[in-house]
Symmetry: C2
Subunit: 463 residues, 2 copies
């Protein structure tokens, strides 16, 4: 997709933006541009020409209408926790921040739903809906905005039971490039009416339209939870256990893999005691204590049968948090242990049966490049992250190269170049290989919905 | 969407179809046209000009390429169990039957997946994968083809736990109108790469492309199941119980509503003993007997607390089937009791909190029109069906009118015109009201992907 030439922000455009938004919500101050120039990834910063903070959908629509007529690039921004440069304003223009559209509009407690503005952080949302005994399950770690999570189809640790963001949204209001506001999806849980525009916009990274409101599914907070940490001699044994646990019908709420090297490194932290072995972290949710306890027994039996070296299991809330601490704090412990080192975070996913082959390939790459890289993954759904260290341009280039090797291996195993971080800037180069002729269909849809290419240009498609 | 003028099937076109498919798989025999002229709905029959039976994706693509170049209508056909005229060849042309593309291509047991051709019936599929302890959960009742279920986003009784068809598919091969074959989705459970074309084609009723292969998610067959049948004084009390049960985290596998009139009628059958009261049928799945039993106790307590008039509950397999018999055989019992009467099956869905208002409205309509109509619904996800009797043109017209009243009420309650039967022919008239400006976006996508409008013309969009 050849990037179109965009028009610059002129004083007249600024005046029109101020008319739409009020002058306090339009800024060309360098400090504001800098604050919206990069996300939490390794991607280079890029400056927008102006930052705007809409407070309502109609303002979003009016800004898009103006930008579309004038051929000005618009990049939507949630809170900047992206990991693939998804919200970096590569082509300048307007950075549309949702930081001031962060309200809960309505809690539909009896419907297990909540309607929110896109700028609200998922942790802030969960703090508010906890009083109803409900939560929004997708959890990418950082306090990402709901709009950003929807745009990237974020996932996280509990996807194996509760699904990714795309599985937890029912309805959205979307502003199209031409400034039309549409409603997609329904507050009805079931809908077989017309095309599923909802899921077309979810995961489209702001390149097809801009999400201005969302009604999310909420889930009852589990009354009882348990934790299990199990070490294995081999990755194959660990993954056979994943298959057996899932096959048992126990429906784990989290099923995480940490490789031997990472376990060793994590054990440098206080109160962490892991064997230097491929290790699974599991969590189970139940509606009653007996169901939880009986499930724990079943898991223990499965693990022993599969040759587990050690099984630590608990349904005690305090012990559970302690057992999971190493997993939850893994990135924090990693960075604390790595002064002067940055990490390139790889994100691929493969069918479960290909997980051992994927991990084995990464081990081989690590050996070949003499790398101290760490693997951590959502094994329950085949997702894996490799934290590849770099300290300078040469090692950064090497990390990029290794990332490419891992992505291409994942694709050869019928996997995907990105399980949960999105395409952003970094994965555009793999889109032809991953999607083949379907990429032309994606381009067709992009051209239909955004003929001037103003929406988040430079993302998703290779130029 | 103005329906384009289609070209007729000429001897030359027939010759080309025979070249693509072999002469045994092309028929203009009246008997074959008749067999593919109507589904299980009340919609009028329409004859195609030729029926073709492809056996592989490349043939599907070649037929579409030909039809697209010649402007010939193509209507895909699964097995004819649709309930909204979705596969009736309204504009003649080519009826593309998938009856000979009914193979399981590969069982990926360790991935909990199966790859199939679209013509296989879901019951036939389930009979084959049961040996792995797995099943494909969506169950619309009839032995619908997987392709038809995908095209209409079919659902059924167990959607409340396991989701609709859209939630149980990972990857598809699709033939586009121009004859290009594309792959959409991934065998990886998680994918945040590019646009979600998978869900754009699912539920598009064959109007955007033709599904030629699908990789489906399979689920472990529950080791333990229970059944609960509960009568209430009011619909409101029944729905409060639905909310309480879902809120408890017990995660029901089925949560069905049957209205008082229907319970009375069902009790005319042998071995059915229901009170003439709003009644819930529930099913629970568990990985262990203790979890099941403890869950049953919780359900019983909730029902009593909500003022249940009677609670029948069992975890015994034989008793369970007996308890559910009235629900499973409801349509059979209805038709057996109604010689000379046909039923117009309405299908709407609303947010759970609006269910009592929806049922109340239908009661009012029944009273106003002095109708003996029956309500039965998937209450757990807000879906409701009304079986509206008709015997002649006048009562058929009245049923159509009443259907319109019910649909418009559902839309006013933030619901949908169709929860699981699809738009087909019958719901096109409600699309503007349901989708507003989003319908223009759907038209735009239709025009992009099928510029000549050859794919299943007359469906989804009002003319």
């Amino acid at each position: 997709m050849t990037t179109p030439a965009f028009a610059p922000i002129t004083p007249e455009i600024l005046r029109q933006l101020q008319e739409i938004l009020g002058s306090a919500r339009v800024s060309v101050a360098r400090a504001d541009l800098d604050l919206h120039a990069r996300d939490q990834s390794h991607h280079h910063a890029a400056l927008a020409e102006v930052v705007v903070w809409p407070t309502e959908a109609e303002q979003v629509a009016a800004v898009l209408k103006l930008a579309n007529a004038q051929h000005i690039a618009v990049t939507p921004w949630g809170v900047g926790t992206g990991l693939e440069g998804n919200a970096i304003p590569l082509h300048g223009g307007i950075l549309m921040s949702f930081e001031q559209m962060d309200k809960i509009l309505k809690v539909h407690a009896d419907d297990f739903q909540v309607t929110v503005q896109p700028g609200i952080g998922h942790k802030d949302l969960n703090a508010q809906v906890a009083r109803y005994g409900l939560f929004f399950p997708p959890d990418p770690g950082a306090n990402a905005s709901i709009g950003g999570m929807l745009a990237n189809n974020a996932a996280g640790i509990r996807t194996v039971k509760y699904g990714a963001t795309k599985d937890n949204v029912l309805r959205m209001q979307v502003a199209l490039a031409n400034g039309t506001l549409i409603q997609v999806g329904s507050r009805s849980i079931k809908q077989s009416s017309g095309y599923d525009l909802l899921h077309l916009f979810v995961g489209s990274e702001g390149t097809l339209g801009v999400i201005t409101e969302a009604t999310l599914k909420l889930t009852p907070i589990a009354a009882y939870m348990s934790a299990v940490v199990v070490a294995f001699e081999s990755v194959a044994a660990a993954i056979e256990t994943v298959v057996a646990v899932r096959g048992s019908g126990l429906d784990p709420a989290a099923l995480e893999f940490v490789d031997a090297a990472h376990c060793k490194m994590l054990s440098t932290a206080e109160n962490v005691d892991l064997d230097e072995k491929p290790t699974l972290f599991m969590e189970f949710h139940a509606a009653s204590q007996p169901a939880l306890e009986y499930g724990l027994e079943m898991v223990r039996e499965i693990c022993v049968e599969m040759g587990a070296l050690s099984v630590k299991a608990t349904s005690d809330p305090t012990e559970r948090k302690q057992l999971w601490y190493a997993r939850h704090a893994s990135y924090e412990i990693l960075t604390r242990n790595s002064p002067g080192i940055e990490y390139f975070i790889n994100d691929v996913a493969v069918p479960l049966s290909a997980y051992p082959a994927m991990v084995g390939f990464i081990e081989d790459v690590k050996a070949e490049y003499k790398l101290t890289a760490y693997m951590i993954g959502h094994a329950g759904d085949g997702n894996i992250h490799v934290d590849i260290p770099f300290t300078d341009q040469a090692s950064y280039d090497q990390a990029l190269h290794i990332n490419g090797l891992i992505v291409r291996k994942a694709l050869s195993l019928e996997g995907t170049s990105t399980g949960e971080h999105g395409v952003g800037i970094g994965k555009t180069q793999f889109m032809v290989e991953e999607h083949g002729a379907a990429l032309d269909t994606m381009r067709l849809l992009k051209h239909s919905l955004d003929p001037n290419g103003i929406l988040n240009p430079g993302k998703v498609f290779p130029d």
